[in-house]
């Protein structure tokens, strides 16, 4: 249909699909990932920037659009320097029109481009709800397989920093409900780079959930190109007394809680799910078979959120292996408060995770 194709990344295989002009590349996920240890420490925001820049250098169809991404160098400095490298036709400052620029990008993706749409905060994505929920994930189905939507929506997700009630959304609690989209949620710079590269190559709509609080987190990130597969949890810590699973920023809270619990003689096994759709239930079940107890740490609200879904799946798949009911730790079931102390109590903080594991292993 169009003349638009792009070079295949090294090691990747090219797949064709009638809905996608130019086909799409699937990285070689069997290739071992580079080591997580090293001394090339960069920030989470720089890891995101590297991922986008690497893909944009190879594939001219990829462009970035969002508020302040170009001349301001990014509201959170994620896209710093990218305007200089890629120019104003590919790093595009948009007006404050989430519905407009998200919908526009979906149209562009249908035509054959590969947009990356930045929401300054996922809290603002609700203005674009019709576009991102009614169009992007449904286009392939309602067109009977004629058009896909190879697009990435990314931005800050989650509370903290006293941003208060309208700026502190964790949208995975709502959006994970919708079939047709994929959701990735990295908890650290190494995963941020590898998952975002995979997201950009992915031919389906991907909601990529970052966190303003983690953008400055530093860790080793390999300089080389690497792609982390969706649907593969990472074993952060081995243990046999209780499984903890989480995704996004709370993984770091959970890791902290694990240290405290270890001092009390409770060895937890911690899994970072990394993607919510798809969800690596195989890793979860494997761990439950070992520990027989599980705590789910979820930064969304409790009623019908991701933890609720995970517990449903655990009940379906690992019921006989549980010695105690699963315990969930969510944010408090209230709008996000401003006051520091209230917000700290609101979050699924290490104290609450510690208490949950104690409850589960009692």
């Amino acid at each position: 249909m169009t003349t638009m194709t792009a070079p295949t990344p090294p090691g990747a295989t090219r797949h064709e699909h009638p809905a996608l002009p130019g086909g799409y590349a699937v990285p070689d996920f069997d290739k071992p990932l580079p080591p997580r240890e090293g001394d090339r420490e960069i920030q989470y925001r720089e890891a995101l920037r590297e991922a986008m820049s690497e893909e944009m250098r190879r594939d001219e169809r990829v462009f970035l659009i969002g508020e302040e991404v170009a001349e301001y160098n990014g509201a959170y400095k994620v896209s710093q320097g990218m305007l200089d490298e890629f120019g104003a036709k590919r790093i595009i400052d948009s007006p404050i029109s989430e519905n407009g620029f998200a919908g526009m990008s979906i149209g562009a993706a249908m035509y054959g481009l590969r947009p990356i749409v930045e929401f300054m905060s996922w809290s603002f994505s609700f203005v674009a709800a019709d576009a991102i929920l009614n169009n992007a994930p449904k286009m392939l189905y309602m067109s009977g397989g004629q058009w896909g939507c190879p697009i990435v929506f990314r931005g800050n997700d989650g509370a903290g920093g006293q941003l208060a009630s309208t700026h502190s959304w964790c949208v995975e609690g709502l959006y994970a409900n919708v079939p047709g989209l994929k959701i990735a949620i990295p908890s650290n710079p190494y995963d941020a780079k590898g998952l975002l590269k995979t997201a950009i190559l992915d031919p389906d709509p991907v909601f990529f959930l970052e966190s303003e609080r983690m953008l400055g987190d530093k860790a080793h990130v390999p300089e080389e190109e690497y792609y982390i597969p969706f649907g593969k949890a990472r074993l952060v810590r081995e243990g046999s007394d209780c499984t903890i699973i989480s995704w996004g920023r709370p993984v770091n809270f959970a890791a902290e809680a694990c240290e405290r619990l270890a001092a009390d003689g409770i060895e937890c096994e911690l899994l970072d799910m990394r993607t919510i759709r798809p969800l690596d239930m195989d890793a979860v079940v494997k761990s439950i078979k070992k520990t027989n107890r599980i705590v789910i740490v979820d930064q969304s609200w409790p009623f019908g959120g991701v933890a609720s879904e995970v517990i449903s799946q655990i009940t379906e798949q690992a019921f006989d292996w549980l010695d105690a009911p699963p315990v969930r730790v969510n944010t408090a079931d209230v709008p996000t408060p401003y006051a520091k102390g209230l917000e700290a109590a609101y979050l699924p903080n290490p104290d609450r995770i510690y208490d949950a594991v104690k409850q589960c292993t009692a």
Partner: protein, 372 residues
């Protein structure tokens, strides 16, 4: 009467674009409009027989809008619109069989029966749907044009295109439309927003649903977009005013805005009892019928200002042929295949399905779309 009288800008002085249209072309346009009219009549019958379900929005009366504008652009200019989409689908080249089969929910339909009346998609004919939420197609239209421009300008491939984005007068009140207009103007995107202004937003007359309702083009102008009014009942008028705009938007890679005055003969949808207007009002508009007007012009002698390229018998034969084609389409739909639940319910959800996307099992690939 609820609609302001149309005022048209005068065409350029050196003769009208429609003067250059061949007799064959005009006969084809008559055929295309009549096809839509006959098709919609049969669609209504099928709906009343409960062969078609859900919402169904009939285009009868507005045929000159779709046929006149679509024939002003190239085959590979992207087109996107709302849910009153059967006419545009046919005008774009969708086979009547595929269109009817879709409404019957059959696998042979343009969306394999998974879209329905509101979701007419046709990739080989550059028809990007068929969208149900009022106004949702307007940012999409900007995106299609943006991508076409990007393909030409950044990738250095393709050519200068325009995208056509149709909407009703009801949709101009939707926020998404204003965001789209702003983006289109700011980024100089070659999308033409064609407001098929039939004077009603569902059951609410235009002077009750939009402020400044007799001056819609002021809205486009307020965004710095070239905006014109066109009488949508005479297809040659449509072409004469729309073609130069389309050419200009393509050449300068800029957006356009058209207030295309028209009227729908049937209700908003098949469920609409039309309590908001009188039969007299509808009948008055029917006197301006586009199809009758074009047929008359083609049959009229040249000395009387007509084309003299169609006889009464020709016209009767054409209508007969069309009736047969539409009958065939209905029969085709009746005999079509119901999509198999096992093969199609969980298909076409992802281009690249992987395990664990759903607690309900794996997603699959379905049959290839019959249009591809």
């Amino acid at each position: 009467m609820t609609q302001a009288s149309a005022s048209t800008k005068s065409p350029h002085s050196s003769g009208k674009p429609s003067d250059g249209l061949s007799d064959d072309t005009l006969r084809k346009w008559l055929y295309d409009m009549q096809l839509i009219r006959e098709f919609e009549t049969r669609t209504m019958q099928a709906y009343q027989q409960a062969k078609i379900g859900g919402f169904c929005h009939i285009y009868s009366g507005q045929e000159a809008c779709a046929v006149g504008t679509i024939n002003s652009v190239e085959h590979d200019d992207p087109v996107v619109l709302a849910y009153r989409d059967h006419g545009h689908a046919l005008a774009r080249g969708m086979h009547p069989r595929a269109c009817m089969a879709e409404m019957y929910g059959k696998l042979e339909g343009c969306a394999k029966g998974k879209g329905g009346s509101m979701h007419m998609f046709d990739k080989p004919n550059w028809l990007f749907g068929g969208h149900g939420i009022v106004g949702a197609q307007t940012p999409l239209g900007a995106g299609l044009a943006f991508a076409a421009r990007y393909e030409w300008e950044v990738l250095g491939k393709g050519k200068k295109k325009v995208a056509l984005c149709y909407l009703g007068d009801g949709a101009i009140d939707q926020g998404a439309f204003h965001e789209a207009l702003n983006l289109a103007s700011l980024f100089s995107i070659p999308v033409i927003y064609i407001i098929e202004n039939n004077g009603y937003s569902m059951g609410t007359a235009i002077n009750r649903h939009t402020a400044n309702s007799d001056n819609l083009i002021a809205r486009g102008q307020s965004y710095g977009i070239k905006s014109i009014e066109i009488d949508g009942f005479d297809i040659l008028d449509v072409y004469d005013h729309f073609k130069p705009l389309a050419d200009e938007c393509r050449d300068l890679q800029r957006p356009g805005f058209v207030d295309l005055k028209t009227y729908r003969y049937m209700g908003h949808s098949m469920s609409d009892p039309q309590k908001y207007r009188t039969k007299d009002e509808v009948d008055t508009w029917k006197e301006k019928d586009s199809i009758a007007a074009l047929a008359s012009r083609l049959m009229m002698s040249k000395s009387d200002g007509g084309r003299e390229c169609l006889t009464e018998d020709d016209w009767k034969a054409m209508r007969s042929e069309i009736a047969e084609i539409v009958r065939d389409a209905v029969q085709f739909a009746e005999n079509g295949t119901d999509p198999d639940v096992g093969a199609e319910l969980y298909s076409d959800v992802y281009i690249h399905p992987v395990p664990n996307l759903s607690p309900m099992g794996d997603y699959i690939h379905g049959d290839k779309n019959p249009l591809l």
